[in-house]
C-alpha cells in the first residue's frame, strides 16, 4: 500500500496545464479542469480580452510559462532514452521554426504599427531571439518530456502568428531562415544532458546575444562613438560569463542528478510493489499454513518460480505466441500445484509452438501428471526439453517404482491415448522407458520438425 507512489493524486489537484486536451498549450484546458469550468468559456474570455486590450494574450503567455504541464514529471522519469531523443529532435525543429516565426511576426507587427523601425534592427533582433531561446531553454526547461512539451507547444502559436503577417518579405525571409538554420544546430541535443553539450549551448546562446548587441551598436553608429564603452561592456560581459559559468555547470549537474534520483526511486517503488504482491503475500500464507508442510513447500516453490521468472525478465514474445520452454514451465507449475510434487524443467533451445508443438506440450503435461500421481512420493520429477534444428524432444523422468509398459492394461487411457496416441496423430512418437529394479520411468516424446513444424 505505502509503496505505490501515492504522491501523484496530490499533485493532480494543483493547477496544471493540460497540453493533451488544449488548443495551444493547454492553459485553458488545465484551468478549466481545476475550476470545473468548460474550457471553451475560458478560451472565449481569453480571446475577447486579447482583442479588446491585448491583455488576454499577455496573461496566456504568462500562464503558459509559469504553470507546469500535467504529468510532466512522471513522464520525464519513465520515458525511455530513445523515445526522449526522438521527441527532443522533433521538438527542437519545431521550436526553431516557432522562434523564427515569432521573430518575423514581431518585426511585422512593428512595421504595421508604424513604429520607428529600420532594417538595422532586424539582425540584432534575430540574434537576440535565437540566443535568448537557447539560454531560456537551458535554464528553465526541465529535462525530458516536460521540456519537449514546452517547446512542442511553443512551436504552434508561433506558426499561427507568423502566418497572419503581411508583406515585408525581406525581414520575413531573414527571420525564418535564421530560425530554421539555427534550430537543428543548436537544439539537436537529444535527451542526454552531457555537460559539454550544456556548456556549449549556453556559450553559443550568450555569444549570439552579445553579437546582437554589437551589431546593433555598429549599425546605429554608437559603437564608433563609444568604442571604450563597448570594450568596457565586453569586459564586464566576459567577467560575468566567468562568474556564472560554474553556476550553470552546477545547475546542469544537479538537473541530471535529480533525474537519475527520480528514475531510481521509481524503480525502487516498482520492485517494492512487486515484492509486496508476491513474496510478502506468500510469506503470510506460509505462516498461516505452517502446520501443513506439503502446502508450505508448494507455496514456496510456486513463489520461487514466479520470482525467478520475474528476475530473469521473461523473454518478450509476441502477443498470443507460446514458446516451448515457457509452455512446459507453465504445465509443470500447474501439475506441481495440483499434486504438490516438485517438477524441475530444464530446456535447451526454444521455439515458438505450432499445433504439433502444442500437442507435444499437452502430451508432456500428461506425462508429468502421471509421474506426479504414481511416483510423486519418490522425489522430484525431471523434465528436459531440447529444441534442435531437426526435432523437438521432451523427456519426463520420475523416480517412482516403475512399471512395465507392456503390462499396462488397455484401460489406462492416460498413457495410450493422451500420450502415445496424441504424439502419433501429430507426426511424432512417444516411448516409455522403465528402468528395471525401481529406477524410475522415463517418457520420451519426439517431434520431427521436417514437415511438422513448418
Amino acid at each position: 500500500m505505502a509503496v505505490t507512489p501515492t504522491g501523484r493524486a496530490a499533485t493532480l489537484r494543483e493547477l496544471r496545464r493540460d497540453p493533451g486536451n488544449g488548443m495551444v498549450a493547454g492553459v485553458c484546458a488545465g484551468l478549466g479542469q481545476r475550476l470545473d469550468i468548460d474550457p471553451l468559456l475560458l478560451r472565449i474570455v481569453f480571446a475577447a480580452t486579447t482583442l479588446a486590450s491585448g491583455l488576454g494574450i499577455v496573461a496566456y503567455v504568462l500562464a503558459w510559462m509559469l504553470v507546469p504541464a500535467e504529468g510532466a514529471e512522471p513522464k520525464a522519469a519513465a520515458s525511455a532514452e530513445a523515445l526522449r531523443t526522438a521527441r527532443n529532435r522533433r521538438a527542437a525543429l519545431e521550436v526553431g521554426l516557432g522562434v523564427g516565426c515569432l521573430v518575423v511576426a514581431v518585426l511585422l507587427t512593428f512595421r504595421e504599427a508604424g513604429l520607428p523601425f529600420s532594417d538595422a534592427l532586424t539582425w540584432p533582433f534575430v540574434l537576440v531571439a535565437a540566443g535568448g531561446a537557447l539560454i531560456w531553454r537551458q535554464s528553465v526547461g526541465r529535462p525530458g518530456a516536460a521540456r519537449a512539451e514546452l517547446h512542442d507547444a511553443a512551436g504552434r502559436p508561433g506558426a499561427r502568428t507568423g502566418g497572419t503577417g503581411t508583406g515585408a518579405a525581406a525581414a520575413a525571409a531573414a527571420g525564418t531562415a535564421t530560425g530554421i538554420a539555427t534550430a537543428p544546430l543548436l537544439f539537436d541535443d537529444g535527451g542526454t544532458e552531457s555537460r559539454p553539450a550544456v556548456i556549449s549551448r549556453i556559450g553559443i546562446g550568450v555569444t549570439l546575444v552579445i553579437a546582437a548587441a554589437i551589431v546593433f551598436l555598429q549599425i546605429t553608429g554608437a559603437l564608433a562613438a563609444a568604442t571604450d564603452v563597448a570594450l568596457a561592456a565586453m569586459v564586464v560581459a566576459i567577467a560575468l560569463g566567468v562568474i556564472f559559468a560554474p553556476f550553470f555547470v552546477r545547475l546542469a549537474t544537479s538537473l541530471s542528478l535529480e533525474r537519475a534520483e527520480r528514475i531510481r526511486s521509481q524503480e525502487r517503488a516498482e520492485v517494492a510493489a512487486h515484492l509486496h504482491d508476491s513474496v510478502l503475500q506468500t510469506l503470510a500464507l506460509v505462516q498461516k499454513r505452517a502446520d501443513d508442510p506439503r502446502a508450505v513447500a508448494a507455496l514456496a516453490r510456486r513463489q520461487e518460480r514466479e520470482l525467478r521468472t520475474w528476475l530473469s525478465g521473461a523473454p518478450a514474445h509476441a502477443e498470443g505466441e507460446r514458446w516451448l520452454a515457457a509452455a512446459l514451465q507453465a504445465a509443470a507449475q500447474e501439475v506441481e500445484e495440483a499434486h504438490g510434487v516438485a517438477i524441475d524443467v530444464v530446456a535447451v533451445g526454444d521455439v515458438p509452438l505450432d499445433r504439433d508443438g502444442e500437442a507435444l506440450v499437452a502430451a508432456a503435461r500428461e506425462a508429468m501428471l502421471n509421474a506426479a500421481k504414481f511416483a510423486g512420493d519418490a522425489g522430484a520429477v525431471a523434465v528436459y526439453a531440447e529444441a534442435g534444428d531437426e526435432r523437438l524432444e521432451v523427456f519426463v523422468r520420475d523416480r517412482g517404482p516403475g512399471f512395465d509398459p507392456t503390462a499396462v492394461p488397455a484401460d489406462r487411457r492416460g498413457v495410450r491415448e493422451s500420450i502415445v496416441g496424441r504424439m502419433e496423430r501429430h507426426g511424432g512418437r512417444a516411448a516409455i522407458h522403465a528402468a528395471p529394479g525401481g529406477g524410475g520411468t522415463e517418457v520420451e516424446l519426439v517431434l520431427e520438425r521436417g514437415g511438422a513444424a513448418s
Partner: protein, 230 residues
Amino acid sequence: MTATGARNTRVVLVDDHALFRAGVRSELDGLVDVVGDAATVAEAVALIREAAPDVVLLDVHMPDGGGLEVLRQIGADAPATQFLALSVSDAAEDVIAVVRAGARGYVTKTISGTDLADAVRRVHGGDAVFSPRLAGFVLDAFAGTGPARPVRAGSSAPAADHDADLDQLTPREREVLQHIARGYMYKEIAQRLGISAKTVEAHVSAVLRKLQLSSRHELSRWAAARRMLD
C-alpha cells in the same frame, strides 16, 4: 555411508546467509566434516588459506563479488582444494562464470543433504559435478556448434593458436550431458549407454575442461556480462 577413506572429507562452507549455513551444516552432519564457514569474501579467503579444506561449498551470490571473487583471490594458493558452487541463482551467466573461474561443478540449494554430501565426495575425488540445470546451460552454451561447423580460420587473430576442439562437444559428451539434464545419475547413464561409470565421469570432466578453457564467443560473453555486473 561408504567412507571414501580413513577420514571424512573436510569441507568449508561459504555463504552470506547464516540461516542457510546452519541448515547445510546440520544436513551434512556426520556425512562430511564441516571444518568452518565464512560469510564474506575476505573471511572465506582467509579461512581457506588457513584450513586448506578438501572442498569448499561456494555461494555464487554474495556481497562484494561472491564466489567468483573468492576463486579469483585464492588463485593458485590452495591447489589441493576443490570448489563446488552452490546457488539459488538460475542465471546461466553467473553459473557458467563461476565454473569457468575454477569451480568443479554446480548444484542448486534445493539439493538434499545426502545428494550434497555425495556431490562433495565426488568433487573431492576429482570428478566434476553437473546438476541437470548446469548440464542444460552447457548444452545451450555449446549449441549451434555441430562438428561440421567450419572454423573461421584467420578471421580473428587469437583463434589461430586456439584448439578448435575446445569449442565443441563430441557426440558422446553431448549424450552424457543430455542424460544428466534428464535427471539420470552417472551409474544409470553408464548402464544406459553401455559404458563404465568411470568413462561417464571422464566425459563429464572433459566437458568441464572445455567449459573452462574454451574461448567460444557465448561463453566469453557470459563471463564478460558477469564482470560488468560486479
